[in-house]
């Protein structure tokens, strides 16, 4: 994956930073599959964007957010929705946006195209509802607007449904259970 200096958006923000060192680190990562190179080394604990020098010093390889948005249709749709909702009385919050982006990247990195169609919708309160569906099977992740609120995973096959506590790993497991082998889905 070629890395352009302008994508880093760091040059003028942090006097004294040596951009070349950042590029070298990213270049070393780019020999891997492109999806993985976009994820910070200590993901998911790393900051989604670099805000301070210490973010870099703490071994956080930064996202190249603009490049990711262009490359990933899933993140493009999320960004489009955030734009659509910007002028409403309940715009999507940065927390919800960030948590959704992290989850979508994680699912994409692990499952790639082996997931069904995706729908992203606002919850009307500043949060997001992310839903995969095929025929009568649905997996829905409910991402609230604020960090102190609890996200949930909801799955439904025909009229049978269940709710799970949210984690990135549980989303992947539930996607596999619901869409790969629905008979294994737990209720």
């Amino acid at each position: 994956m070629p890395v352009a200096l302008q994508d880093l958006s760091l040059g003028n923000n942090f006097p004294g930073l040596q951009p070349e060192s950042v590029i070298r680190r990213l270049a070393s990562e780019s020999s891997l599959d492109w999806r993985m190179t976009c994820v910070p080394r200590n993901y998911p604990n790393a900051p989604i964007e670099v805000h301070t020098i210490s973010d870099l010093q703490n071994d956080a390889i930064p996202y190249i957010k603009s490049r990711l948005i262009r490359q990933s249709p899933v993140l493009s749709d999320l960004e489009l929705l955030v734009q659509e909702e910007r002028e409403t009385d309940a715009p999507i919050t940065p927390h919800a946006n960030q948590q959704a982006a992290e989850m979508l990247l994680y699912v994409n990195a692990i499952l790639g195209n082996a997931v069904p169609e995706l729908s992203i919708a606002p919850d009307g309160n500043g949060g997001l509802r992310i839903e995969w569906f095929r025929d009568n099977r649905t997996l829905r992740v409910l991402i609230p607007s604020r960090a102190e609120q609890v996200p949930f995973i909801y799955q439904r096959i025909n009229r049978d449904s269940a709710v799970h506590n949210f984690s990135l790993a549980t989303v992947v497991q539930a996607l596999r259970a619901v869409f790969d082998n629905p008979h294994n889905a737990r209720y």
């Binding site: 659509e84 729908s119 919708a121 009307g124």
Partner: protein, 137 residues
């Protein structure tokens, strides 16, 4: 609050606040259309519609049209549809609310019930009016 007469109003209508509530490619209504917002105790609906690109009977700043729901099937879920109290200060003759969806979304049990309702309401809904022709394929 008085219950709605399902014979007089065989359908009720939900104003479409977000373009994401309906996907023209799949003709699928999103469950997001049936989620309570903070401070809401019921889902707002209209008993009758005669909207135009210029006029929105729901009184929304942004409205993309209406979804139709069969009144009887909504009631069969165990939900209640109530009309506005005539003496209430915010009385609107054409307004109703779908009641019975859990307001508390902090426990798995309440989330499950609320999402079950949202899923069922979405499944029985159909696009009734495309106000700005945004839902054309």
């Amino acid at each position: 609050m008085p219950d709605i007469d399902a014979e007089q109003f065989p359908n009720i209508y939900r104003a479409i606040r977000s373009r994401r509530w309906y996907d023209p490619a799949t003709q699928r209504v999103s469950s997001a259309a049936f989620v309570l917002r903070d401070q809401e105790i019921g889902l707002s609906a209209l008993k009758g519609v005669n909207c135009s690109p210029q006029a929105c009977l729901a009184g929304l700043n942004t409205c993309f049209g209406e979804l139709a729901l069969p009144t009887e099937r909504v009631l069969n879920l165990g939900l209640q549809i109530v009309e506005d109290e005539p003496d209430a200060p915010e009385f609107r003759e054409n307004h109703a609310q779908i009641m019975g969806i859990p307001i508390d979304r902090t426990t798995p049990a309440h989330v499950k019930l609320a999402e079950d309702f949202a899923s069922s309401l979405a499944e029985m809904s159909s696009l009734h009016y495309d106000r700005h022709e945004k839902f054309r394929e």
